[in-house]
Amino acid sequence: MNSTMLQYDVVVIGGGPAGLAAAVKAREYGLNVLLLDENDYLGGILPQCIHPGFGIHYFREELTGPEFSHRFVQRVKDLKIDYFVKARVLEIKNYSDLEKIVVFTSPEGAFEVWTKAIIYATGARERHAFEIGIVGDRVAGIYTAGEAQTLMDIYGVMPGKEVVIVGSGDVGLIMARRFALEGAKVKAVIELMPYPGGLARNVMILRDFNIPLYLSHKVVEVRGKKRVEKVKVVKVDENLREIPGTEFWIECDTIIISAGLIPQVKLLTDIGVEIDPATGGPVVNDLLETTVPGIFVAGNSLLINDLVDYVAEQGELAAYGAKLFIENGGIPAEKWIKLEKGNNIRLAVPHYLSGKRDVYIYVRVKKPMENVVLNFPEIDKKIRLPVVRPAEMLRIRLRKEEIAKAKDKITIEVIQQ
């Protein structure tokens, strides 16, 4: 392959909110930045998320997805950051700490970029029908929520008229509203768990449009000749096992699968980055550096976030990490304190803390609980919370003085008051 050689301080892979924020921040630190995205336009999925609810923390004003991404894209252009769209990264090579190569192709040709640091911000992919155990006919009319959103909100095409939505996470609920607004009949939202998966404010959408929500239910089968005609739904018990005799059919022409997101980490696992099975993303320290020095990760490829504001925050932190890494030829730290998961904690990121800086930790619980204390026994920290829910990621600031109290680990646990 005939390729052009480029050289940068930092290559940011992914032009969604995490990558845009990272590229802008790194440029503001004076680094020479290249931003790569495989889509036709910068912004990631934001240009198709036309509903409001973005940027309340970051910009202190409520924006739609396209507006949020527009502000960052404008910054990228104002700062004259080099970027490629329609760029497909094929490989990352890690020669030494400050010598890495990113190989990519684009309509302009094939390129190899020498770089000191990489910020990986490729986002997530959607789980599809087979992953959640739906069997039956392989007919037209089965989409993931993101596919339906692209069709409706980028191309202006209605994917169907009578819709069943599988999964009550935020994306599923937002698509329920979108379909209802466009005059489609949303016949049901089916949720496997006994509680809704989305933020409470989005669950309210169902009341707005009188959409029935079936908790502890599962879609198991699709029937149709050319297009979806009906789906079979069954109730599940507390162990998520199907309860025989509870089956019923819902007639519909479209099924929207909104069954969660999975961090995209393929290029990272290719080079041996350690993955946390709980998040699906890499194991990172408090500058979001992976186990391969100089490779940082932010946004939904780190962990699935609820709010774009956190995604942008992670992008900026990764940029700060890249700056420190380049200045010092590595991330300076005497010791790393491990963040450990205790009672009712499903995931906690970052995994290692230096105690050199304040840090936001992102935490998700396993099951809902009321009147609880978030407890950090090793550092004597307690936070009272009226309620914790699996759907709502907790973001907690630990100050460096607090972290410094720990010897080698800090446990985070939820205990009943």
């Binding site: 336009y41 240009p47 036309i50 509903h51 409001p52 309340i56 923390h57 924006l63 739609t64 396209p66 507006e67 527009h70 409706m152 909100d153 980028i154 191309y155 202006g156 607004l181 466009e182 005059g183 933020l199 409470a200 404010r201 669950v203 309210m204 009341r207 707005d208 709010l307």
Partner: protein
Amino acid sequence: MTVEVYKFTCIICPLSCDIEVKVENGEIKEIKGYTCPRGKEWAIEEITNPKRVVMSVIKVKNGNMPTVSVKTDKPIPKTKIPELMKLLAEIEVEAPIKVGQIILENPLGLDTKIVATREVEKA
């Protein structure tokens, strides 16, 4: 006497407070669960005249994207939403379009503007 208790989640800010409103004979008697005055005000409006910001896409001629996303710049009464959506489905605009550009003013006599939220360049 009719007593109704409405339970809903405040959507004004991400705190998502659970608010409970007790209505007796059509009169609001008690509101609890809110954390700030904005939430209380919203809860009252939610009972008496619910409003929503509406978003959709509009067809674009000669653009690098086939549609432009839009929103109402103020929440409009819930009851007016279907009519507005029909109107938005019928119109078409010409590229280029800037973020913040006003596409329609006071559609259907509503006190709102339809504002573009995406940039569309000329193809």
